[in-house]
């Protein structure tokens, strides 16, 4: 009986996969975007006191809803744990997963996901107490390390220590909050996760100056939104919504001036194509002409979103670094709207 149930599951899973072709139509019919987010990661996604979701990933959900549905507020935020996020996406419970997930080879191929864009270039680092007297991660021989299970960081850690021929003892933790607690309680010598996470963790400490983020960044963590394999139209919408945000920053389009710029064709033809005052780029993607205007209105361009949620004015205080525009030495490079 078990085998037949398994076969039935597989057959149905195949059917469901084949049937889930037109996500955009589903989203439009439903009237809301189901967006998978982190149930709580400082700066990336967390509900405020009134229950409104806020954060860097949340703003991407809002932008996609603005593009596809015309209203950034029409998002169902579906919080997903690290273990269930990809299954929930594959099962169709969410339309897009904006949950600081690293784009890797096996997730792209084996898990049948598509990562249409990278919205944050991160890398794994180490947080250590200043009192430990460690200046480099290579001096961590024999250290106990707090590490989140089910993430790429777990694998990177093993690789790093193996390459450098030193040993460590992992202390597995379930989430970021537990990690801070264990680290502060002294259950581990160092805490490792993405450098952005370490910065936000350190910001909540009572004495942040007693802790240092070690200089080594031991991995590449391109974090980005993920969609199901096989629906390229929907992947296009997610991809170009994000690139519209980046292009808007490059072209100086902000939440404040976008309405004015979209009112009439400007001198710059790329702005005109993006904002729909010239040619018909929206219809090519299955959207309307004003889509990019709404995307920028939803929460500003990429730079504005970064500054509001993670930037130096917030308590997390991250510098743009790799996430600066290519014109400013970063990696944010949007293909042309042409």
């Amino acid at each position: 009986m078990k085998t037949s149930v398994m076969l039935g599951t597989l057959a149905l899973a195949g059917l469901a996969g084949a049937a889930q072709a037109a996500t955009l139509d589903d989203v439009k019919a439903r009237g809301t975007l189901n967006c998978g987010v982190n149930p709580g990661l400082t700066g990336f996604a967390a509900p405020d006191a009134s229950g409104t979701w806020q954060g860097f990933d949340v703003d991407l959900c809002r932008a996609i809803a603005a593009a596809a549905l015309g209203d950034p507020a029409k998002v169902n935020y579906i919080p997903l744990s690290g273990e269930t996020r990809f299954t929930a996406l594959a099962a169709g419970e969410v339309d897009v997963l904006a949950r600081n997930s690293t784009w890797t080879f096996s997730r792209d191929t084996d898990l049948k996901l598509d990562f249409p864009a990278v919205n944050y270039y991160d890398g794994q680092g180490f947080l250590a107490p200043r009192a430990l007297g460690v200046a480099s991660a290579k001096e961590l021989d024999g250290a106990t390390v707090c590490i989140q299970t089910g993430t790429t960081t777990e694998l990177n850690l093993a690789d790093f220590f193996r390459v450098n021929n030193i040993t460590y003892e992992p202390v597995p933790i379930a989430n970021d909050a537990e990690g801070r607690q264990q680290y502060l309680a002294g259950a581990c010598d160092v805490y490792t996760t993405d450098a952005s996470g370490l910065a936000s963790v350190r910001a909540t400490f009572e004495t942040p100056d007693d802790h240092v983020i070690l200089p080594e960044i031991i991995s590449k963590e391109p974090l980005g939104p993920a969609v199901r394999h096989g629906d390229t139209e929907w992947a296009d919408i997610v991809r170009w919504t994000f690139y519209a945000l980046v292009t808007a920053e490059e072209l100086g389009i902000t939440a404040a001036n976008v309405a004015e710029m979209a009112a009439a064709p400007t001198e710059n033809p790329e702005i005109n194509r993006l904002l729909g005052t010239e040619d018909e780029y929206g219809t090519m993607a299955g959207l309307d002409q004003q889509w990019a205007v709404r995307v920028v209105q939803a929460g500003g361009n990429y730079g504005e979103i970064f500054e509001r949620n993670l930037g130096e004015s917030t308590s997390i205080g991250l510098a743009r670094g790799l996430n600066a525009l290519w014109t400013q030495g970063g990696l944010m490079y949007a293909p042309p709207f042409r």
Partner: protein
Amino acid sequence: MSEIHAETVAFARDTMMPPAPPPRRETGAVRWMRENLFSGPLNIILTILAAWLLWLALRDLLPWAWRGIWQAGSASECRAIRDQLYGEGVPAACWAVVRARWRQLLFGFYPADGLWRPLLALGLFLVAVLPVLFSGAPRRLLWLSAAAPFVIVWLLWGGSLWGPVAAALGFVVGWAIWAAVARRGNAGLALLLGLGAALAWWFLLARPVAAGLASVAPLALVPVESRAFGGFTLSLVIGLAGICLSLPLGVLLALARRSELFFISKVAVAYIEVIRGVPLIVWLLVAQVVLNYFLPRGTNFDILLRVIIMVTLFSSAYIAEVIRGGLAALPSGQYEAADALGLGYWQATRLIVLPQALKISIPGIVNSFIGLFKDTTLVSIISLFDPMRISSTIRATTEWGGIYWELYVFVALVFFAFCFAMSRYSIWLERRLERSHR
């Protein structure tokens, strides 16, 4: 009368002497302490050891809680206020987080202007279970108990009043047909027709009737999605629904397992063993993820409903085993006496077997219920916002990052209050039903 004793008896008391107060060391607190705390060398050592441990535990906790800061906008503000009041590094709780976020801890993301709805639903639930829990309550309340599930669903999820009313009418229709046919004497046919009529009502007529009534009298509350449920509202909805539904299901399963009908007893055994043999977390993941593969695309099978069903099925297997223990504890003389009286299976079960078996099982049943209620926190694994998940989400905001114990203490206290109440009720009920060992 002789005069012999006239001199020897100089004085004869003709009233009772008032009782003298007992020696001071034989009364009140002194005696209690001597008897209970210092009755022997071992006891003295244990008492001192316990007092020392208690002092160790409370020495830091109580001042920390007492110094607590209630007015602050963020964790860092809390620390600044603490430094000002008590000096740097002095442990002091930051209760301001509970003050700022108690709504989310209790109600999740339920709309702020509708918080009276879960509260009223809880109140209604408590009134509705009164006649079930306390035999002294007026019997007329049972009508309220029958209507309560539908009203509570309406209060919690909102929408048109007529949906739940139409659903309730299905039961009325089924019951009416069953009663009408059963009076003619054919019990099996009556059950079949009643069930058929109820199903026909639900699938064919309920929707149009509800729509019709709604167009005549549009009584509706603002609909609230299941995703908005969180905190203790979520725990209580899942826990109480699971408790109320799993008890009857558990009784049926226990009876089925002891049934002499081969097929029925084997099905019950298989069900109980399969459900008990797999962890609750796995069943919850099945509810969240795997069911989506089986259901046709686009069906919106409410996640909370899925969880309630899974929790009920899971808990009923445990309840069934507890009740089976009660059934096994009944002396066979009770069954034989019932047979000798000429009672049928259902009559014997209802009048003789179950009342005694359930009474024996009370501690076990309440034990399972308390476990079930606390297990509702496991739903955080499928990303529902139970109190623990809410507290880690609160910690993920920039304001309250790094706050742990205050939230844990709050969640623990609320859970304790509910579980303690259940436990006290069970003790009270056991005392009241105690018959044989007096």
